[in-house]
C-alpha cells in the first residue's frame, strides 16, 4: 500500500470518528467584552450647579441611545447572514440579511448580469426586497428572457448559511417558491437544492472553470456518484443536463422533474432494441449516461446471445448518433463494425482487439507499482538521513570530547 493511501485511510477514518461538538463549543464562547473604562473619582473644583452634571449625563445618554439605535439598526440591516446562488445558465447571487431581505444582488456571469440589468430597467429594485419576492422576480425575468423554458427548465439553488437549520429552512422554502413560479408559467422543471460548502477546492475549481461555486459543488457531487465522468466534461453541460445526473448524488434535494426537453431512458432502450431487432425481454440491456463532444448522451448496450451492440443516443432528441457491434467470445470482445444509421444485420466482426479500458488499467497498475517503489525508496532515504544526522551528532560529541581530553593531556 502506498504511503499516500495509508495516510489517506488514516485521515478518512479519523474524520469519521470525530464527534460533533460545535454546539457545545459555541455555547462556551462567552461574548467578548470591550475594555472597561473606569471613571476617575477625583472631585472637580469647577463651580457648577448641582443639576448640570445629571442633565449632561441624561442628554448624552439620550444621544447615545438614539444614535446607537439607528446606527445598530443600520448595521444589522447590512450584516449578511445567507448567500443564495441561483443557477440556470445565468448565475445570480443574492446576499441576504437576517430579516431575509436582500442586501446585495449581482449577476455572476454575462447572462446573470443581463437578468439583473433587465430587472433594474423594469424598475424592480432588488436591494431591500424580501428574499422570496426577489427570487420570484429573478425566475420570472429568466423566463421572459428565454433562459428558462419547457426545454430548459432546471434551476439549482445553493444556500450558504452558518446555521444548518436556517440553511435547510431557507433552501426548502426557496425550492418550493421556484417550483411554483415555474408552474405558474406552465413550465414543469426540476429544482435542485443544496447547502453551500466552504471547501477551498470547490472555490478553486469554480474559479478555474469560471463558474459559480454552486455549479462547481453540484458537479463534484455528481462525480462522487459517477466516477467515470470528469469535471472537464460536466462543466460544459447546462444545469438542465446536470439535473439528469443527480439521481443518487448525496446532499442534493430535487423537487419536480424535466417533463419536456429530454427523452426518457426507457425511450432510449426501446429505440436501441428496435434498431437491434430484439425485444428488451430477450436481451440483456444496460443504460448509462456519458458525455461526448460536450453533449450528454445515453450509452445503451444490448447483448443478445454472442452479439453486443453499443448505442450512443442523444438525450434531447432520442436520435441514434452512433452504434458499434461486436461478438463476445470467451470474454474477448472482437471488434466491431461501426456505423451510423446502417442496418445491424451485416455485422462482420473479425479483428481481436484489447479494449482501451484494459490498456489504461494495465498502465495504471504499472504506474502504481512504480510509485510504490519510489515511495519505498524515499522512505529508506528518509530513514538513512535521520540515522546519518544522529551519527554525525554523536561523532561531533565524541570528537569534542576527544579533543578536550587530548588538550588536557598536553597541558598536564
Amino acid at each position: 500500500m502506498k504511503t499516500s493511501e495509508l495516510e489517506r485511510k488514516l485521515a478518512s477514518e479519523i474524520s469519521q470518528e470525530i464527534p460533533d461538538v460545535l454546539d457545545s463549543i459555541l455555547s462556551k464562547c462567552e461574548p467578548k467584552s470591550g475594555k472597561i473604562i473606569e471613571f476617575s473619582d477625583h472631585k472637580s473644583n469647577v463651580n457648577k450647579t448641582k443639576w448640570f452634571r445629571p442633565a449632561c449625563v441624561t442628554a448624552a445618554m439620550f444621544v447615545l441611545f438614539v444614535g446607537g439605535y439607528f446606527g445598530f439598526a443600520q448595521y444589522q440591516k447590512n450584516i449578511i447572514e445567507s448567500v443564495v446562488l441561483l443557477d440556470v445558465n445565468p448565475s445570480v447571487e443574492l446576499k441576504v440579511n437576517k430579516n431575509e431581505k436582500i442586501v446585495l444582488a449581482k449577476g455572476l456571469n454575462k447572462d446573470g448580469i443581463t437578468v439583473i440589468d433587465k430587472m433594474k430597467a423594469n424598475g424592480e429594485k432588488l436591494e431591500g426586497e424580501e428574499l422570496d419576492i426577489a427570487v420570484k422576480g429573478v425566475i420570472n425575468t429568466m423566463i421572459e428572457e428565454g433562459f428558462l423554458s419547457e426545454q430548459s427548465s432546471s434551476v439549482l439553488v445553493t444556500v450558504e448559511n452558518p446555521d444548518d437549520k436556517k440553511n435547510e429552512k431557507v433552501k426548502s422554502h426557496l425550492m418550493i417558491t421556484i417550483h411554483n413560479t415555474l408552474k405558474e408559467n406552465g413550465i414543469e422543471g426540476a429544482v435542485m437544492g443544496q447547502s453551500g460548502s466552504k471547501s477551498e477546492n470547490t472555490s478553486k475549481l469554480a474559479s478555474k472553470y469560471r463558474i459559480d461555486k454552486g455549479k462547481a459543488e453540484l458537479i463534484e457531487k455528481i462525480i462522487a456518484k459517477n466516477p467515470h465522468l470528469s469535471f472537464e466534461q460536466l462543466v460544459k453541460l447546462s444545469i438542465s443536463d446536470l439535473s439528469l445526473l443527480v439521481d443518487g448524488a448525496e446532499n442534493i434535494t430535487v423537487v419536480g422533474f424535466n417533463a419536456k426537453g429530454y427523452v426518457s431512458s426507457k425511450y432510449a432502450v426501446d429505440s436501441a432494441c428496435t434498431h437491434a431487432k430484439v425485444t428488451s425481454g430477450d436481451a440483456q440491456v444496460g443504460v448509462s449516461f456519458e458525455v461526448s463532444d460536450g453533449k450528454l448522451i445515453y450509452d445503451v448496450s444490448v447483448i443478445s446471445g454472442d452479439n453486443r451492440i453499443d448505442y450512443k443516443i442523444d438525450v434531447k432528441t432520442g436520435e441514434i448518433l452512433k452504434w458499434a457491434a461486436a461478438i463476445i467470445n470467451d470474454s474477448i470482445e472482437k471488434s466491431a463494425q461501426e456505423s451510423k444509421n446502417e442496418d445491424v444485420a451485416e455485422i462482420a466482426p473479425e479483428v481481436p482487439k484489447a479494449s482501451p479500458n484494459d490498456i489504461i488499467d494495465g498502465a495504471i497498475d504499472e504506474v502504481d507499482g512504480a510509485i510504490d517503489e519510489v515511495d519505498e525508496a524515499i522512505g529508506e532515504v528518509d530513514e538513512a538521513i535521520g540515522e546519518a544526522i544522529n551519527e554525525v551528532d554523536k561523532l561531533k560529541d565524541w570528537g569534542f570530547g576527544e579533543i578536550y581530553r587530548a588538550k588536557d593531556k598536553i597541558i598536564s
Binding site: L6, E7, L10, A11, I14, I18, V21, I25, K28
Partner: protein, 177 residues
C-alpha cells in the same frame, strides 16, 4: 483544508468576536485537532474533550495570536498543551490502567473496515512519538520540519521515526491480509 492565510484570517475574525469564524475554523481543522489529540491521548473520550476545549481556548485567546503565517502550528500547540495537561491530570488523579485505555480503543475501533484497520494499527503498533508523527503528517498536512518544531524534536528523529512508523503499519497490514 483551508490555506494558512485563510486560517490566519479566521483567527483574526475570532479575535474580533466573530462566532461564525469559530464554526468555520472548527469545520476545517477539527480532523487535524482531534487526530493529533487522539494520537497523544489514545483515548477517544479524552480526545473529544481536548477537541472541544481547543476551540474554546482559541476563542478566548485569539487576541494574543501574532500573525506569522503559521496559524495551524498555533492551533495544534494549543491542542498539544491541553492533551499533555490532561495526561498529567489523569496520572495524578485517576489511575487509569493501560487496559482501560486499550478497552476504550477496542470499543471505539473494533469494526474492521480497511480504514479502521489502519487506525487500529496506528493506535496499537506504534510508539507514542511514531503515532504522533504519522498522525500529524496524515491529518494536518504539516511538513516534517514543521512537525519537528511542533514536537520539539530534531528533524532527523522525525524523519527516521516517520519511516519506521510507515514500515510498521505496512507490515501490520500485510500480516492482516
Amino acid at each position: 483544508m483551508l490555506s494558512q492565510v485563510a486560517i490566519e484570517t479566521l483567527i483574526i475574525e475570532i479575535a474580533a468576536g466573530n462566532k461564525t469564524a469559530v464554526s468555520t475554523l472548527y469545520e476545517e481543522t477539527r480532523t487535524a485537532v482531534y487526530g493529533f489529540a487522539l494520537s497523544i491521548l489514545k483515548n477517544s473520550s479524552d480526545a473529544e474533550d481536548v477537541l472541544q476545549e481547543t476551540y474554546v481556548r482559541i476563542w478566548s485567546t485569539a487576541e494574543n495570536y501574532i500573525p506569522m503565517g503559521k496559524p495551524m502550528a498555533w492551533v495544534l500547540t494549543i491542542s498539544k498543551n491541553l492533551s499533555l495537561s490532561l495526561l498529567r491530570e489523569r496520572s495524578k488523579h485517576v489511575d487509569m490502567p493501560e487496559e482501560n485505555l486499550l478497552m476504550d480503543q477496542a470499543k471505539s475501533f473494533s469494526v474492521s473496515t480497511e480504514d479502521r484497520i489502519v487506525l487500529n494499527a496506528a493506535m496499537n503498533e506504534l510508539s507514542d512519538e511514531e503515532r504522533q508523527i504519522i498522525m500529524l503528517h496524515a491529518v494536518t498536512g504539516l511538513k516534517h520540519i514543521e512537525i519537528a518544531k511542533l514536537l520539539s524534536m530534531p528533524l532527523s528523529t522525525v524523519l527516521s521515526k516517520y519511516s519506521r512508523a510507515k514500515k510498521k503499519l505496512r507490515n501490520t497490514l500485510k500480516e492482516g491480509d
